[in-house]
Symmetry: C2
Subunit: 213 residues, 2 copies
């Protein structure tokens, strides 16, 4: 098993957390997104989407962080990252997808670059864009989590799972971009609970071999 | 079971296809996105994300189209929408997520509106944005599908599944926005095969009770 990662990729960060929770230690390869290494032919041959993470396993290259994490959960079921009941699974997947589909795609590096280079925006406008989608997306997540008795110490009950794996890297990014987070007390409480766990700590960008200041 | 839908929402379109493939006929409720009905308090109470689709089932409201479809597949396993082997499931989920995370979020209505109202772009620039992300995203999908022997009449083998459910609404949108599609022969072939099936046809926007010209 070999994970292609970049320390600051929040999609790679998710997979690193999942691997740690499962106690798996794949070989690591580092793809420097800011240097454009993901567009090099050797990497594009591995993943035509030219995105990290990519996980090489059993002669296949798995892509898309959520698909990789579901694969890890199916092939290494302990500890489970999803509840056992279908309604609970649907809730946790929906929380995860609210990050993966409604927040992160709008704020990732290739989109921010496009806003500058093709759409002609300056840094202040791009920062405003970033913070807008963070505010909208985290606001929806806060409402979903705060108003549901199934929310526990973590997003769903008292054990960490898929939704927490998506939440923590998104909060990390929001903090890095200095987004106001005062309106999201439930998210901050869960984020803090996660970051007490070694699996989450070891996966953090600053703790990666390819980390830069 | 009650589905909150909007004829032109491609996320609702996905769920409609899945319901049809499973032979399920929920009660329908229509949320007019262009009239802003999703932001009304009554709908926001149901889904704080203020997005369709939302599926009411067993006293819960399920959100996020992929989470809803996985729920339907778990609770109504025939016909299956995912392969039985973990590597195949990872492939199909990754294809689906390549649409759900890397194309659709950038081109949906709320983002296009924001590009106009907050970022100051005119229609031509917004159209260019739309077509850019379609070209990038469908290009990656075409490369993944064309270069893989597991691609069959449909995205994965010869029966329709989750990846096809995501592909068809995205191609529908691309056509409606007059995006060039010549470079994606595999996608067009699979899209045509899907649109021969009653489950896909009946789910199309123009065949919904709330359709407008």
């Amino acid at each position: 098993m070999k994970l292609h990662s970049y320390f600051r990729s929040s999609a790679a960060y998710r997979v690193r957390i999942a691997l740690n929770l499962k106690g798996l230690q794949p070989e690591m390869a580092f793809v420097h997104l800011r240097h454009g290494e993901q567009t090099q032919p050797s990497f594009a041959a591995l993943n035509p989407e030219k995105l990290v993470p990519a996980l090489e396993v059993d002669g296949q290259t798995l892509t898309q962080s959520l698909a990789i994490i579901e694969y890890l959960d199916e092939t290494h079921p302990t500890p489970p990252l999803l509840p056992s009941d279908p309604l609970g699974r649907a809730r946790v997947r929906a929380l995860a997808l609210a990050v993966a589909c409604d927040i992160h795609p709008l704020d990732n590096l290739r989109v921010l670059k496009h806003l500058k280079s093709a759409m002609g925006h300056g840094q202040a406008e791009v920062d405003g864009w970033y913070r807008h989608w963070i505010a909208v997306g985290l606001g929806a997540l806060e409402a979903k989590l705060a108003g549901d008795a199934r929310t526990g110490r973590f997003c769903h009950g008292d054990t960490p799972g898929l939704a927490d794996i998506l939440l923590v890297p998104q909060i990390y990014n929001a903090r890095r971009m200095e987004c106001p987070l005062d309106g999201f007390p439930t998210l901050l409480r869960i984020d803090a609970a996660c970051r007490e766990l070694p699996a989450f700590l070891a996966a953090a960008p600053e703790n990666q071999p390819d980390a830069e200041g």
